[in-house]
């Protein structure tokens, strides 16, 4: 059986300069299995190649001399060859499968690793479907090549050995076989390229069809609710017919290849048979040898077929590894600093230089802005999500730029929970516990703080129940509260919550505001919100001006009561939910003027 359980613990770091480099790297990584596979492939093919020879000898030496000892001996040898083929065939299959799995799993893991580390850079650079296809399809195509390697090598070796044997016995026939077979192979290989290009067109059309299908399925709720099923089924059918047309184009060429695969080796066999028969008539060779040559000619078309197949698989593997490289190449949005700075001590200030916002240790602060996008932007950059976009807006923890800190430590010390976080499928309790250290009491405590106890009833099985993908079975408000509980459970030194209560009712919001403030009391916390229910419970509120700079700070009550311009502006912002003015925010309401970061940030949700 396969000795090594998969997946392997270490995925390694592959070279991404070219498909050839990447494939070679993987070849080296699984050289042990490949070697076994090659070895046993050679044995299998050689034992198979021995069959015509032994059959010929059995006819010559055995049959010719009647039913006797010699026939039994030759048949015994054939039996031995058969036994070797059977046993090596078993190992050949085991190791071919292991090769396939090793390669396919390795690339699946590499892609998964990338997706787990790249942050939002991956969704920004590639459509989700392409990343999934890299695992669902491309990794498997690369695996095919690895699985074929052993048999292919065996075929090549068997070809060389057989050619040598025949050459040593009969020069003319030997030359015909030695050169005839590669010529046949060469001619057939000529068709491979155009065939692959048609297959490529077919695959592309199929890919579009699959994308169309999964897009339709993803929006099925809308189609069933609003209509358009027929339009979409029709669209799918049209593309399906296009795929069929492309498939027929492949079939036409493929059938020519199939015909040639009969014709060329067939003619070669006839040539061998004719030459051999003439030699037999004049007594140069025996009838047993004639049978053997015939057997060889037939046998050798097998390696040729394998070579054509291998060629196709290699080409496909190269195409697929290029796609895999496309995914692996995505640069992480926030890579680990090359030489991380020493960590600032606990209780350091977090400072956003462009806005002037300073998070002092132990304070629970609200951030309010006339333009909610602006305050969300400030909050999000406190978490360091995109180095490239944030180069102009430095944020420092204890005086050190975030980008220069050890990333893992940063993620543990500062947690930013955005407005629409993703919920993953899995056991509810495990999904809540992002750090993997919470007790049941902790979980229940966080659910209480987020006023999300009702979720335990909505998810059958409660904490041990299964949460479906994206928390689909929950209402929007429930999803938001689960996400809030999850953020609270990370227990970071500094917690930033962006609009944590935008999807819940006022009653619930009031409870959450009070409980979250209690839970985080004495620990640095920033809440971006314009809700007076929340702001009222915080130690301090910071108001940004139109230029997204800190304009004022104070308690909610103080700011409300200020008689100056600041007070008026604050009242306008936090009271706006009641007002039906509309004039001040229509200008910036057109959704396409939101800045790039926000668009990027929201894109995921739109998809």
């Amino acid at each position: 059986m396969i000795v090594r359980p998969l997946p392997l613990p270490d995925t390694g770091s592959p070279p991404l300069t070219s498909p050839a480099r990447l494939l070679t790297w993987q070849v080296w990584r699984q050289r042990d299995v490949l070697a076994k596979s090659l070895l046993v492939g050679i044995v299998t093919m050689l034992a198979s190649a021995a069959a015509p020879l032994l059959l010929g000898l059995a006819i010559d030496e055995g049959l010719a001399h009647g039913f006797g000892r010699e026939l039994l001996v030759w048949c015994g040898l054939m039996l031995l060859a058969a036994a070797v083929t059977v046993v090596s065939g078993v190992f050949s299959h085991i190791w071919d499968v292991e090769n396939w799995l090793r390669a396919a799993f390795a690339f699946a893991q590499l892609v998964g690793d990338k997706a787990s580390r790249a942050g939002h850079a991956i969704t920004r650079r590639l459509p989700t479907g392409e990343v999934v296809a890299a695992v669902a399809n491309d990794a498997l195509r690369v695996g095919d090549m690895f699985a074929m390697a052993g048999r292919f090598t065996g075929g090549v070796i068997a070809y060389v050995v057989v050619a040598a044997i025949v050459l040593s016995q009969d020069l003319t026939l030997g030359l015909v076989l030695t050169f005839g077979i590669p010529v046949v192979g060469g001619v057939l290989a000529l068709l491979v390229k155009p065939l692959q290009s048609r297959q490529g067109a077919h695959r592309e059309a199929t890919g579009r069809l699959t994308a169309l299908g999964s897009d339709t399925v993803s929006g099925l709720r809308i189609l069933r609710g609003i209509g358009g099923e027929d339009v979409f089924a029709g669209r799918y059918a049209r593309q399906s017919q296009e795929v069929r047309r492309q498939g027929v184009r492949v079939a036409v060429l493929q059938s020519v290849l199939d015909g040639l695969q009969v014709l060329l080796p067939g003619l070669l066999v006839v040539l061998v048979l004719w030459l051999g028969a003439r030699a037999a008539v004049v007594g140069d060779i025996t009838s047993g040898q004639l049978v053997a040559y015939y057997g060889y000619a037939a046998f050798l078309s097998w390696p040729v077929q394998m070579a054509t197949q291998m060629l196709q698989m290699v080409i496909r593997a190269v195409v697929s590894s290029r796609k895999i490289i496309g995914v692996l190449e995505v640069a992480e949005a926030t890579p680990q600093a090359t030489s991380p700075q020493n960590l600032p001590p606990e209780g350091s200030e977090l400072v956003d230089e462009s806005s002037g916002l300073v998070l002092r240790p132990g304070r629970v602060v609200g951030l309010v802005s006339p333009e909610p996008d602006a305050s969300a932007r400030v909050a999000v950059r406190l978490g360091r999500f995109d180095d490239e976009a944030e180069t102009g807006t430095p944020v420092r923890l204890g005086g050190v730029l975030l980008a220069e800190l050890d990333k893992e430590t940063l993620r543990h010390r500062v947690v930013v929970s955005e407005a629409t976080p993703h919920l993953f499928s899995g056991i509810l309790g495990e999904e809540l516990d992002a750090r993997g250290r919470a007790t049941e009491a902790d979980l229940l405590g966080a659910l209480f703080a987020a006023d999300a106890h009702d979720v335990l009833d909505s998810v059958p099985g409660g904490l041990t129940g299964e949460l479906p993908e994206k928390g689909r079975s929950l209402s929007g408000g429930q999803r938001q509260r689960v996400a809030l509980a999850r953020a609270l459970l990370t227990e970071p030194e500094i917690l930033v919550l962006v609009e944590p209560t935008s999807a819940v009712d006022a009653h619930t919001e009031a409870r959450i505001a009070e409980r979250v403030a209690t839970v985080r009391r004495g620990r640095t916390t920033l809440v971006v919100t314009a809700s007076p229910l929340v702001l009222d419970h915080l130690d301090e509120v910071v108001l940004l001006d139109d230029g997204a700079r800190v304009a004022a700070s104070g308690t909610h009550a103080e700011l409300l009561e200020r008689g100056d311009d600041v007070g008026a502006r604050y009242r306008a912002v936090v009271g706006r939910s009641m007002a039906e003015d509309g004039s001040d925010d229509t200008a910036d309401d057109t959704a396409d003027d939101t800045t790039d970061d926000i668009t990027d940030e929201l894109e995921g949700a739109a998809r």
Binding site: G62, A108, V131, A136, L220, R221, A277, A605
Partner: protein, 589 residues
Amino acid sequence: MSTTAAPPAAGANLLPIADRAEVNRTVRRLFRRHRRALGAIAGLHTVAAVAGLAGPFLLGRIIDEVATGTTLGYVNTLALVLVGAVVAQAVVTRFAQKVSMVFGEEVFAELREEFMNAVTRLPLSVVEKAGTGDLVARTTNDVNKLQHAVRFGVPRVLVCIVTILLTVVASLLTDPLVAIGLLSGVPLIWVATRWYLKRATPGYLRESAAYATVNGTITEAVEGARTTDALHLGAKVRGRLRRDLSETFEAEKYTLALRLRLIPSLDAAVWCAPIVIVLWGGWLVSQELTTVGTVATIALYAHQLGGPVFDLVFWLDELQVAAVALARVVGVGLVGPDRQAGTDVPASDEVRGHAVRYAYREGHDVLHGIDLDLRPGERLAVVGPSGAGKSTLGRMLAGIHPPTGGSVTVGGVPLVELPLEDLRQHVALVTQEHHVFVGTLAENLRLADTSASDEALWGALGAVDAREWASALPDGLETEVGSGGHALTPAQAQQIALARLVLLDPHTLVLDEATSLLDPRAARHLERSLNAVLTGRTVVAIAHRLHTAHDADRVAVVDGGLITEIGPHDELVAADGDYARLWHSWQHE
């Protein structure tokens, strides 16, 4: 499938998988439909296979002739006959293959189109229950898995069977006595194949499910990449993928173990048959019951059988996988409708709920008998704490699920007895979820009204205040949007959803927190867009922001699955009940 929604628990929410009989029925139906093509394939491949049998036969003749002494001229003639046979075989093979593969393309296209038709007709309640993960897997993985089998496998299997049968027949014709030796391989092949086929299907089912899980994990990892980064969940995601791959490995190991019994058995049978024939033939030759050439011919036939037998086995393996995929593809078509459309025509536009009850799980009523009459043209805000049953009530009012008790009617006709096309003309539900389809903006809008003119589309966009950004798109209405196209913000996506409603033009709309997942300002903006287009319609707005309630004609407070208060805002405030308390706390007074 039951018609009521079960709790969305894992395992329980999967779509049906067709049983063997159903899969066989589908295959038979497809084959019957393509009888003629199948006949042509079988005929052509028979001719090709016959031509392919000439080689060993003529070789046997040559051996016997050489033994008795013959001329080079005779050899030349035989060689020419053989050339003719090879050319004939090649030409016929070419056409046979073409016909087979075109057949495969056609059958596969039919299959997937039928599948997509079934998918787009799934009852809404089922779609919500099953989630899209399983369906996406069937649309992509399973359909693709079928591809190989249907396009190449089915024709190939036919060829193999024809070749095997003809080779056996040819052996029998050459010398039935020697050909008996061919039977030596049959028992082993028979037993091993039966043993294998019985166990393979569950093994491949498990394998298929394991791969679907891996793909699901990757999908989630990509879609949630930002959250993964923010909460430092990377290690967790990697751990999950590792677990999924381990399970896939176990599943692969099981099917491998099955094949490891099958393959050597077949191998042994295929290799032993020529040996038995030579031994048996040797004895017959010694008894002068046959000739050496005949034995050689049949031994070569036996040897030649190895290829098609292995090919057949390989494809049986593949067809097993395909049968599993087919069971999942066909399974989608087995979902029964969740409602029976009647013929009654609503007498008016009045929507009435009477004693409406609903339970997602039996015995766990979410709604406890709600009576609610909508007044045509009114704006009703539904407020209440989370989990009170607001969304469920909304779904009942929109006719998504049939209620477990009581009824919701429009003009006297139960909503769930209206044909879906008609239902949408009456009531539409707008939820928090929005999806921008791959395609042009125009295509995204025309879902609601396939015949709408460009002017109508612009009108609808204008009505939802989306004209400005839409006209700024690179190709206007023809701009490609959705995954891979021009990226839209959630607010824009939501506006598209609203514009669709304008085009659909139902008299009653149920808005289920349609704007709650956006940032508050965008939500208010959208609500203003809505206000402009909702006039003249009956609107039920399920909301958590009280200013929506403030604007409404009536407010219904839902708590614990019942309407506890209902009336105009001012009255409820004056009544000093739950609503008044909420309102005051919201106003911070």
